[in-house]
Protein backbone atom coordinates (compact mmCIF):
# COMPACT_ATOMS: atom_id res chain seq x y z
CA UNK A 1 0.00 0.00 0.00
CA UNK A 2 1.40 3.45 -0.86
CA UNK A 3 1.95 6.05 1.82
CA UNK A 4 -1.08 8.22 2.68
CA UNK A 5 -1.64 11.09 0.25
CA UNK A 6 -2.21 14.28 2.22
CA UNK A 7 -4.26 17.08 0.68
CA UNK A 8 -4.16 19.39 3.66
CA UNK A 9 -3.47 19.82 7.35
CA UNK A 10 -5.47 21.95 9.76
CA UNK A 11 -4.31 22.68 13.29
CA UNK A 12 -6.47 24.41 15.87
CA UNK A 13 -5.34 25.54 19.30
CA UNK A 14 -7.79 26.98 21.82
CA UNK A 15 -6.63 28.83 24.91
CA UNK A 16 -9.39 28.98 27.50
CA UNK A 17 -8.99 31.67 30.16
CA UNK A 18 -12.35 31.19 31.88
CA UNK A 19 -15.91 30.15 31.28
CA UNK A 20 -17.79 32.57 33.48
CA UNK A 21 -15.84 31.76 36.66
CA UNK A 22 -12.47 32.94 37.96
CA UNK A 23 -9.79 33.54 35.34
CA UNK A 24 -7.25 30.71 35.44
CA UNK A 25 -3.61 31.48 36.28
CA UNK A 26 -2.64 29.19 33.45
CA UNK A 27 -5.09 28.98 30.56
CA UNK A 28 -6.20 25.52 29.45
CA UNK A 29 -4.98 24.71 25.97
CA UNK A 30 -6.89 22.33 23.75
CA UNK A 31 -5.36 21.49 20.41
CA UNK A 32 -6.27 19.42 17.40
CA UNK A 33 -4.49 18.45 14.24
CA UNK A 34 -6.43 17.10 11.27
CA UNK A 35 -5.07 15.59 8.09
CA UNK A 36 -7.17 15.24 4.96
CA UNK A 37 -5.98 12.17 3.09
CA UNK A 38 -7.08 10.09 0.16
CA UNK A 39 -9.16 7.03 1.08
CA UNK A 40 -7.50 4.23 -0.89
CA UNK A 41 -10.60 2.01 -0.43
CA UNK A 42 -13.30 4.49 -1.49
CA UNK A 43 -15.91 3.36 -3.99
CA UNK A 44 -15.63 -0.42 -3.56
CA UNK A 45 -15.85 -3.00 -0.84
CA UNK A 46 -12.38 -4.28 -0.01
CA UNK A 47 -12.12 -7.25 2.30
CA UNK A 48 -8.51 -6.74 3.25
CA UNK A 49 -7.85 -3.22 4.50
CA UNK A 50 -5.83 -3.69 7.66
CA UNK A 51 -2.43 -3.19 6.00
CA UNK A 52 -3.21 0.52 5.75
CA UNK A 53 -2.88 0.85 9.54
CA UNK A 54 0.86 0.35 9.23
CA UNK A 55 1.02 2.88 6.40
CA UNK A 56 -0.68 5.46 8.63
CA UNK A 57 1.87 5.18 11.44
CA UNK A 58 4.45 7.70 10.11
CA UNK A 59 1.70 10.23 9.37
CA UNK A 60 0.29 9.73 12.88
CA UNK A 61 3.65 10.31 14.47
CA UNK A 62 4.28 13.41 12.38
CA UNK A 63 0.85 14.76 13.39
CA UNK A 64 1.41 14.00 17.09
CA UNK A 65 4.72 15.84 17.06
CA UNK A 66 3.26 18.81 15.17
CA UNK A 67 0.44 19.00 17.70
CA UNK A 68 2.80 18.94 20.67
CA UNK A 69 4.75 21.75 18.98
CA UNK A 70 1.55 23.76 18.45
CA UNK A 71 0.75 23.36 22.14
CA UNK A 72 4.08 24.85 23.19
CA UNK A 73 6.55 22.09 22.42
CA UNK A 74 6.84 20.48 25.86
CA UNK A 75 5.37 16.98 25.94
CA UNK A 76 5.30 17.04 29.74
CA UNK A 77 2.52 19.65 29.49
CA UNK A 78 0.13 17.25 27.77
CA UNK A 79 -2.44 15.77 30.16
CA UNK A 80 -5.36 14.64 28.01
CA UNK A 81 -5.85 13.09 24.60
CA UNK A 82 -8.34 11.72 22.09
CA UNK A 83 -8.65 10.82 18.44
CA UNK A 84 -11.20 10.52 15.67
CA UNK A 85 -11.89 10.12 11.99
CA UNK A 86 -14.45 11.32 9.44
CA UNK A 87 -14.95 9.11 6.38
CA UNK A 88 -16.08 10.68 3.09
CA UNK A 89 -19.32 9.29 1.64
CA UNK A 90 -17.68 6.90 -0.84
CA UNK A 91 -16.11 5.08 2.09
CA UNK A 92 -17.40 3.04 5.00
CA UNK A 93 -17.18 3.46 8.75
CA UNK A 94 -14.70 0.60 8.91
CA UNK A 95 -12.18 2.76 7.04
CA UNK A 96 -12.33 5.22 9.93
CA UNK A 97 -11.58 2.37 12.31
CA UNK A 98 -8.19 2.05 10.62
CA UNK A 99 -7.12 5.11 12.58
CA UNK A 100 -7.52 3.47 16.02
CA UNK A 101 -4.17 1.76 16.15
CA UNK A 102 -1.88 4.23 14.34
CA UNK A 103 -3.51 7.29 15.94
CA UNK A 104 -3.18 5.88 19.43
CA UNK A 105 0.29 4.49 18.85
CA UNK A 106 1.45 7.84 17.51
CA UNK A 107 0.39 9.83 20.56
CA UNK A 108 1.71 7.32 23.04
CA UNK A 109 5.00 7.17 21.21
CA UNK A 110 5.30 10.95 20.97
CA UNK A 111 4.31 11.47 24.62
CA UNK A 112 6.57 8.79 26.02
CA UNK A 113 4.79 6.54 28.43
CA UNK A 114 1.08 7.35 28.30
CA UNK A 115 -0.87 4.53 29.98
CA UNK A 116 -4.56 5.14 29.28
CA UNK A 117 -6.55 3.97 26.31
CA UNK A 118 -7.06 6.83 23.83
CA UNK A 119 -10.79 7.58 23.60
CA UNK A 120 -12.08 7.88 20.06
CA UNK A 121 -15.00 8.45 17.78
CA UNK A 122 -15.72 8.31 14.07
CA UNK A 123 -18.44 8.88 11.52
CA UNK A 124 -19.21 9.08 7.83
CA UNK A 125 -19.74 12.64 6.64
CA UNK A 126 -19.22 15.31 4.04
CA UNK A 127 -17.36 18.62 3.79
CA UNK A 128 -17.75 20.59 7.00
CA UNK A 129 -18.97 17.66 9.08
CA UNK A 130 -17.99 18.16 12.71
CA UNK A 131 -16.78 15.49 15.04
CA UNK A 132 -16.84 15.70 18.83
CA UNK A 133 -13.56 14.06 19.80
CA UNK A 134 -13.66 12.73 23.36
CA UNK A 135 -10.73 13.47 25.64
CA UNK A 136 -9.52 11.70 28.78
CA UNK A 137 -6.42 11.77 30.99
CA UNK A 138 -3.36 10.23 29.32
CA UNK A 139 -2.44 7.98 32.26
CA UNK A 140 -5.70 7.20 34.04
CA UNK A 141 -9.03 7.04 32.23
CA UNK A 142 -11.07 7.63 35.40
CA UNK A 143 -9.74 11.11 36.15
CA UNK A 144 -13.02 13.00 36.20
CA UNK A 145 -11.64 16.52 35.82
CA UNK A 146 -10.09 15.60 32.47
CA UNK A 147 -13.20 14.17 30.78
CA UNK A 148 -13.53 16.69 27.98
CA UNK A 149 -14.11 16.91 24.24
CA UNK A 150 -13.13 19.09 21.33
CA UNK A 151 -15.27 19.67 18.30
CA UNK A 152 -13.24 19.48 15.10
CA UNK A 153 -13.83 19.52 11.36
CA UNK A 154 -12.52 20.91 8.08
CA UNK A 155 -14.75 23.26 6.06
CA UNK A 156 -14.02 21.60 2.69
CA UNK A 157 -13.39 18.00 3.79
CA UNK A 158 -13.86 15.11 3.64
CA UNK A 159 -14.73 14.96 -0.03
CA UNK A 160 -16.29 11.63 -0.95
CA UNK A 161 -12.98 9.85 -1.58
CA UNK A 162 -11.19 11.29 1.43
CA UNK A 163 -10.64 10.57 5.10
CA UNK A 164 -10.13 13.18 7.81
CA UNK A 165 -8.01 11.81 10.62
CA UNK A 166 -7.71 13.78 13.84
CA UNK A 167 -5.66 13.88 17.03
CA UNK A 168 -6.56 16.02 20.05
CA UNK A 169 -4.48 16.90 23.10
CA UNK A 170 -5.16 19.09 26.15
CA UNK A 171 -2.90 20.63 28.79
CA UNK A 172 -5.17 20.22 31.79
CA UNK A 173 -8.59 19.72 33.28
CA UNK A 174 -11.80 21.47 32.27
CA UNK A 175 -11.31 25.11 33.15
CA UNK A 176 -13.69 25.14 36.14
CA UNK A 177 -13.65 21.39 36.95
CA UNK A 178 -15.45 20.82 40.26
CA UNK A 179 -17.52 17.64 40.17
CA UNK A 180 -15.22 15.49 42.28
CA UNK A 181 -14.08 11.95 41.43
CA UNK A 182 -10.53 10.71 40.98
CA UNK A 183 -8.20 13.68 40.76
CA UNK A 184 -5.11 13.84 38.56
CA UNK A 185 -2.75 14.08 41.54
CA UNK A 186 -4.18 10.91 43.14
CA UNK A 187 -3.65 8.49 40.27
CA UNK A 188 -1.41 5.44 40.45
CA UNK A 189 -0.85 5.40 36.69
CA UNK A 190 -0.19 1.69 36.41
CA UNK A 191 -3.22 0.11 34.77
CA UNK A 192 -4.25 3.09 32.65
CA UNK A 193 -7.50 3.36 34.57
CA UNK A 194 -6.79 4.85 38.04
Amino acid sequence: MPEPKVRKFLTVVEEILHEGGPVADKPLKRGAILAVIENPFAGHYHEDISGFMKDLEPLGLEMANLLIAALGGNKADIQGYGKGAIVGQAGELEHGALWHVPGGYAMRDALGDAKAIVPSTKKVGGPGTRLDVPVTHINASYVRSHFDAMEVGVPDAPRSHELVVALVMTTGSRIHARVGGLSADAIKGEDGLR
Binding site: R7, K8, F9, L10, V12, E14, E15, I16, L17
Partner: protein
Protein backbone atom coordinates in the same frame (compact mmCIF):
# COMPACT_ATOMS: atom_id res chain seq x y z
CA UNK B 1 -6.14 45.40 28.36
CA UNK B 2 -9.70 46.60 27.92
CA UNK B 3 -10.87 43.46 26.16
CA UNK B 4 -12.14 40.78 28.55
CA UNK B 5 -11.05 37.64 26.74
CA UNK B 6 -12.66 34.32 27.59
CA UNK B 7 -10.90 32.29 24.99
CA UNK B 8 -8.35 32.52 22.18
CA UNK B 9 -8.03 30.12 19.27
CA UNK B 10 -5.55 29.83 16.44
CA UNK B 11 -6.18 27.87 13.23
CA UNK B 12 -3.49 26.99 10.68
CA UNK B 13 -4.33 25.40 7.35
CA UNK B 14 -1.74 23.98 4.95
CA UNK B 15 -2.68 22.70 1.50
CA UNK B 16 -0.31 20.14 0.03
CA UNK B 17 -2.26 18.99 -3.00
CA UNK B 18 -5.39 19.83 -4.96
CA UNK B 19 -7.08 17.65 -7.61
CA UNK B 20 -4.18 15.26 -7.34
CA UNK B 21 -1.65 17.97 -8.16
CA UNK B 22 1.09 18.86 -5.77
CA UNK B 23 0.95 22.35 -4.29
CA UNK B 24 4.59 23.27 -3.83
CA UNK B 25 5.29 25.12 -1.64
CA UNK B 26 2.10 24.37 0.31
CA UNK B 27 -0.28 27.32 0.73
CA UNK B 28 -0.60 28.42 4.35
CA UNK B 29 -3.30 30.40 6.09
CA UNK B 30 -3.68 31.26 9.75
CA UNK B 31 -6.60 32.71 11.68
CA UNK B 32 -6.60 33.93 15.26
CA UNK B 33 -9.86 34.37 17.13
CA UNK B 34 -10.65 36.07 20.44
CA UNK B 35 -13.93 35.55 22.26
CA UNK B 36 -14.64 38.64 24.36
CA UNK B 37 -17.37 40.01 26.58
CA UNK B 38 -19.61 42.45 24.75
CA UNK B 39 -19.77 45.46 27.08
CA UNK B 40 -22.94 46.70 25.36
CA UNK B 41 -24.90 43.45 25.24
CA UNK B 42 -28.60 43.72 25.93
CA UNK B 43 -28.97 47.51 25.72
CA UNK B 44 -28.68 50.32 23.21
CA UNK B 45 -25.60 52.46 23.78
CA UNK B 46 -24.93 55.45 21.58
CA UNK B 47 -21.19 55.82 22.11
CA UNK B 48 -19.27 52.70 21.07
CA UNK B 49 -15.78 54.00 21.79
CA UNK B 50 -14.88 51.22 24.22
CA UNK B 51 -15.28 48.66 21.43
CA UNK B 52 -13.17 50.83 19.14
CA UNK B 53 -10.32 50.67 21.66
CA UNK B 54 -10.82 46.93 21.97
CA UNK B 55 -10.57 46.71 18.18
CA UNK B 56 -7.15 48.35 18.28
CA UNK B 57 -5.94 45.96 21.00
CA UNK B 58 -7.17 42.91 19.17
CA UNK B 59 -5.80 44.01 15.79
CA UNK B 60 -2.28 43.88 17.23
CA UNK B 61 -2.78 40.78 19.37
CA UNK B 62 -4.53 38.63 16.76
CA UNK B 63 -2.27 39.80 13.92
CA UNK B 64 0.80 38.83 15.95
CA UNK B 65 -0.74 35.46 16.85
CA UNK B 66 -1.30 34.69 13.17
CA UNK B 67 2.24 35.62 12.20
CA UNK B 68 3.64 33.53 15.07
CA UNK B 69 1.49 30.55 14.06
CA UNK B 70 2.75 30.79 10.49
CA UNK B 71 6.31 30.77 11.83
CA UNK B 72 7.52 33.50 9.48
CA UNK B 73 8.83 37.03 9.79
CA UNK B 74 6.08 39.63 9.25
CA UNK B 75 7.45 40.70 5.84
CA UNK B 76 6.77 37.19 4.49
CA UNK B 77 3.02 37.50 4.95
CA UNK B 78 0.98 38.13 1.80
CA UNK B 79 -2.71 38.60 2.49
CA UNK B 80 -5.03 39.44 5.35
CA UNK B 81 -8.62 39.85 6.43
CA UNK B 82 -10.81 40.39 9.49
CA UNK B 83 -14.29 39.50 10.69
CA UNK B 84 -16.50 39.57 13.76
CA UNK B 85 -19.59 37.71 14.90
CA UNK B 86 -21.76 39.31 17.57
CA UNK B 87 -23.70 37.09 19.96
CA UNK B 88 -27.48 37.40 19.97
CA UNK B 89 -27.69 40.11 22.64
CA UNK B 90 -25.53 42.50 20.62
CA UNK B 91 -26.00 44.43 17.39
CA UNK B 92 -24.16 44.43 14.10
CA UNK B 93 -22.86 47.91 14.83
CA UNK B 94 -20.82 46.44 17.68
CA UNK B 95 -18.88 44.38 15.14
CA UNK B 96 -18.41 47.51 13.05
CA UNK B 97 -17.02 49.38 16.06
CA UNK B 98 -14.38 46.72 16.60
CA UNK B 99 -13.43 46.22 12.97
CA UNK B 100 -13.46 49.58 11.26
CA UNK B 101 -12.22 52.61 13.19
CA UNK B 102 -9.03 51.36 14.89
CA UNK B 103 -8.18 47.74 14.13
CA UNK B 104 -6.29 48.32 10.88
CA UNK B 105 -3.25 50.23 12.12
CA UNK B 106 -2.00 47.72 14.71
CA UNK B 107 -2.82 44.87 12.35
CA UNK B 108 -0.73 46.46 9.61
CA UNK B 109 2.13 46.87 12.08
CA UNK B 110 1.91 43.17 12.90
CA UNK B 111 2.21 42.14 9.24
CA UNK B 112 4.50 45.02 8.17
CA UNK B 113 3.19 47.32 5.47
CA UNK B 114 -0.37 46.65 4.46
CA UNK B 115 -1.15 49.38 1.98
CA UNK B 116 -4.43 47.73 0.98
CA UNK B 117 -7.82 47.91 2.64
CA UNK B 118 -8.29 45.01 5.04
CA UNK B 119 -11.30 43.09 3.67
CA UNK B 120 -13.90 42.36 6.33
CA UNK B 121 -17.18 40.68 7.10
CA UNK B 122 -19.53 40.69 10.03
CA UNK B 123 -22.63 38.95 11.26
CA UNK B 124 -24.76 38.19 14.27
CA UNK B 125 -24.83 34.55 15.25
CA UNK B 126 -24.69 31.89 17.90
CA UNK B 127 -22.42 29.14 19.20
CA UNK B 128 -20.87 26.97 16.51
CA UNK B 129 -21.78 29.21 13.61
CA UNK B 130 -19.21 29.60 10.84
CA UNK B 131 -17.52 32.94 10.38
CA UNK B 132 -16.04 33.57 6.92
CA UNK B 133 -13.03 35.84 6.96
CA UNK B 134 -12.42 37.36 3.52
CA UNK B 135 -8.83 37.59 2.35
CA UNK B 136 -7.06 40.01 0.02
CA UNK B 137 -3.45 40.87 -0.77
CA UNK B 138 -2.09 43.16 1.94
CA UNK B 139 -0.47 45.70 -0.37
CA UNK B 140 -2.60 45.63 -3.52
CA UNK B 141 -6.30 44.86 -3.40
CA UNK B 142 -6.45 43.88 -7.09
CA UNK B 143 -4.13 40.86 -6.84
CA UNK B 144 -6.50 38.20 -8.15
CA UNK B 145 -4.61 35.13 -6.94
CA UNK B 146 -5.03 36.25 -3.33
CA UNK B 147 -8.81 36.75 -3.25
CA UNK B 148 -9.77 34.00 -0.86
CA UNK B 149 -11.44 33.35 2.48
CA UNK B 150 -10.97 31.28 5.59
CA UNK B 151 -13.74 29.79 7.72
CA UNK B 152 -13.47 29.57 11.47
CA UNK B 153 -15.83 28.39 14.15
CA UNK B 154 -15.86 27.58 17.84
CA UNK B 155 -18.58 25.27 19.05
CA UNK B 156 -19.25 27.32 22.22
CA UNK B 157 -18.96 30.84 20.79
CA UNK B 158 -20.25 33.46 20.59
CA UNK B 159 -22.53 33.20 23.60
CA UNK B 160 -25.31 35.78 23.74
CA UNK B 161 -23.23 38.40 25.53
CA UNK B 162 -20.02 37.81 23.62
CA UNK B 163 -18.29 38.85 20.41
CA UNK B 164 -16.02 36.59 18.39
CA UNK B 165 -13.29 38.63 16.70
CA UNK B 166 -11.11 37.08 14.00
CA UNK B 167 -8.06 38.05 11.97
CA UNK B 168 -6.58 35.92 9.17
CA UNK B 169 -3.10 36.20 7.65
CA UNK B 170 -1.52 34.06 4.93
CA UNK B 171 1.81 33.47 3.25
CA UNK B 172 0.22 32.63 -0.10
CA UNK B 173 -2.65 32.97 -2.52
CA UNK B 174 -5.06 30.21 -3.53
CA UNK B 175 -3.64 26.78 -4.36
CA UNK B 176 -3.14 26.44 -8.15
CA UNK B 177 -4.42 29.99 -8.84
CA UNK B 178 -4.88 30.42 -12.59
CA UNK B 179 -7.53 32.96 -13.47
CA UNK B 180 -5.12 35.73 -14.47
CA UNK B 181 -5.29 39.33 -13.29
CA UNK B 182 -2.67 41.32 -11.41
CA UNK B 183 0.09 39.08 -10.05
CA UNK B 184 1.64 39.39 -6.59
CA UNK B 185 5.12 39.93 -8.01
CA UNK B 186 3.93 42.83 -10.21
CA UNK B 187 2.56 44.82 -7.31
CA UNK B 188 3.68 48.44 -6.84
CA UNK B 189 2.16 48.56 -3.38
CA UNK B 190 1.73 52.32 -3.16
CA UNK B 191 -1.95 53.08 -3.54
CA UNK B 192 -3.17 49.87 -1.93
CA UNK B 193 -4.89 48.83 -5.14
CA UNK B 194 -2.19 47.76 -7.65
Amino acid sequence: MKAEIRKLAVFVEEVHSEMGRKVDPPTRKAAAVAVIRNPYAGRYVEDLSELMEIGAELGGLLGARCVAALGVTPDKTESYGKAAMVGEDGELEHAAAILHPSMGKPLREAVEQGAALVPSSKRRGGPGQMLDIPLGHKDAAYVRSHFDAMDVWLNDSPRAGEIMVAVAVTTSGRPLARVGGLKANDVEGKDGLR
